[in-house]
Symmetry: C2
Subunit: 330 residues, 2 copies
DNA sequence: GTGAAAGCGCTAACAG
DNA sequence: CTGTTAGCGCTTTCAC
């Protein structure tokens, strides 16, 4: 493969000059610059980023560590992170932790060996800030990690929005399908939801599961497979996937949404607006999160501990929620 | 950051010895080996993969180029590729082309600068095999690219399976929602479906769109928003997302699936089994594809041109298809 | 078996 | 403004 020396020789200049032309910053005479650029094109020279990375002691890559790429929210996040990074001339190294703390540690250690410019991490558990060297900018997204600032939607506030919505619709018998208790994001959403309800004198029935379709379906069945009078009139879930699973359970049990049951999710994944009924949910500013994350990673600043950036979620009302009255009317 | 020299000095050996210990292949005396390993642990030494990559002229990374990570099928593919790669000690560089040929070229050129061990590419169009250097193993997955072998599910055969299923159910008035005509994968699935129907003397109505929910919904509406007698009794789609969009359109128009309309998709994304009604579809062996892709990338072999590896899809019957008779009965 | 030393291809001083 | 040169941290002959 052709290297900088070949180019320099052919263009009749020194390697330093070629390097400066590529960096397009230095003061290189117009004549030489053109000649070099022509030669680069002509020889189809692709500068070796590995060598450059070695010399610069940092590569043009950012590591992205997420629990699960098949979760539409993280897929969306990855998509935007990749787009913004690419635009900034960076590549993204993808790591999937599969919600396994051991793998998470291994993945991060492995990433670090490539000396990336920055790390964007959606951690599994808040415990033990990994002792990875402070010389790689780290921005922690969506879920809290000890010793780091957090860039995320305001889980607590967003969940409160959901609670408010259900209360406003007249619901009093309300259940909540939470995420795994060891995930701080679950706790934040749950707390935001529950506290808001309790302030209104309502005590929701709470049940815990994973952030996926299957869990939503199983837990939904558990909540709904009982005498109509004992069923909640509204259920909120910790994310949209659970809500979609719940919708499926309701359908299987012949329970009409939203007439007999209101359902509200969290995330506003693309699918939320397409299933039947269209899902009412709390939308996240994913693109904005991605932009800020990449910017912080590049700036080398990360998000300082204690300096959280919490972005507001927004209530998206669609067809899975309705006034409780409708049910009595039936 | 501590480097190999620091370790060598502290352990009282030469850098060569440390290197050999890490490569865990050479013949290093047990005593020295232990001493070095202890020192590595003690100093928390993380070998610099950038330097190693420079020296080896190849990094421990594989590039993964896909059109759209929010497409559940590709997310699934990425998940498995990442898992297999990680297991083999490789990192994955993620590129998303967003179905834009210009970006695809730029992404690949950019990836190559990092001198990855191999490239796994889901190309956008079959045209112009990019003139990237033959010195990077390239395995082309899912969609054909001129000058390369293809590793993929058998689109043609899978679609024929779908056609066979609908015919067997007694459907005669059948429509097909295809993918974009410029994508070979669309053409393969469409051809497999249409040819099989025509062999049975049926000429389907065909309509084209993109591989996403929105397109499926719009096209579905177009196909269904007409007098009942003029509507197809069954619609097959080029992928599950379109099918899900179609289901939504049917629901909006008050058309019962599967009683009044049978729907069959392609891919068997996780969601397919969870929506209402559960979607009948053609399942892909994603994990197997991922395994083979990574193996080929590592082996440096790629998939030789003309040596396609076509894996069989499998018909997954769920609740979105039913005998045409049911409708007449209503 | 182990050490010494020559690069991998580039960037960034430093000269001129 | 441009050329020269010393490494970046590792692997890999080549000696011993």
């Amino acid at each position: 493969m052709v290297n900088i020396k070949d180019v320099a020789r052919r263009a009749g200049v020194s390697v330093g000059t070629v390097s400066r032309v590529m960096a397009r910053n230095e003061t290189v005479g117009a004549a030489l610059r053109e000649k070099v650029e022509a030669t680069i094109r002509e020889m189809n020279f692709k500068p070796n980023h590995v060598a450059r990375g070695l010399r610069r002691r940092r590569t043009d890559m950012i590591g992205l560590v997420i629990p699960d790429i098949t979760n539409p929210f993280f897929a969306e996040l990855a998509k935007h992170v990749e787009a913004v990074a690419f635009h900034a001339g960076l590549s993204v190294l993808l790591s999937i932790t599969n919600d396994d703390p051991k793998i998470e540690v291994a993945q991060i250690e492995s990433l670090l060996k490539s000396r990336p410019t920055g790390l964007i991490v959606v951690p599994i558990q808040s415990g033990q800030s990994q002792s990875w060297r402070g010389d790689t900018a780290t921005v922690v997204v969506d879920r809290r990690l000890q010793g780091h600032g957090l860039l995320s939607v305001d889980h607590h506030g967003g969940a409160a929005l959901a609670a408010e919505h259900l209360i406003g619709l007249g619901h009093r018998h309300i259940a909540y399908i939470a995420g795994p208790a060891d995930a701080p994001v679950s706790r934040a959403r749950r707390a935001g939801f529950v506290e808001h309800l309790e302030a209104a004198g309502i005590k929701p029935e709470i049940i815990e599961g994973h952030f996926d379709y299957v869990s939503g379906e199983a837990l939904g069945r558990q909540l709904l497979d009982r005498a109509p009078a004992k069923r909640p009139t509204a259920i909120a879930t910790a994310n949209d996937q659970q809500a979609i699973g719940l919708l499926r359970a309701a359908s299987d049990l012949g329970i009409k949404v939203p007439d007999e049951l209101s359902v509200i999710g969290f995330d506003d994944i693309p699918l939320a607006g397409l299933i039947t009924p269209r899902l009412t949910t709390i939308g996240q500013p994913v693109e904005d999160i991605a932009k800020r994350a990449v910017a912080a990673a590049i700036a080398g600043s990360g998000v300082a501990a204690g300096e959280d950036e919490l972005l507001s979620g927004v209530l998206v009302v669609r067809n899975s929620t309705a006034p409780v009255g409708r049910r009595e009317a039936v």
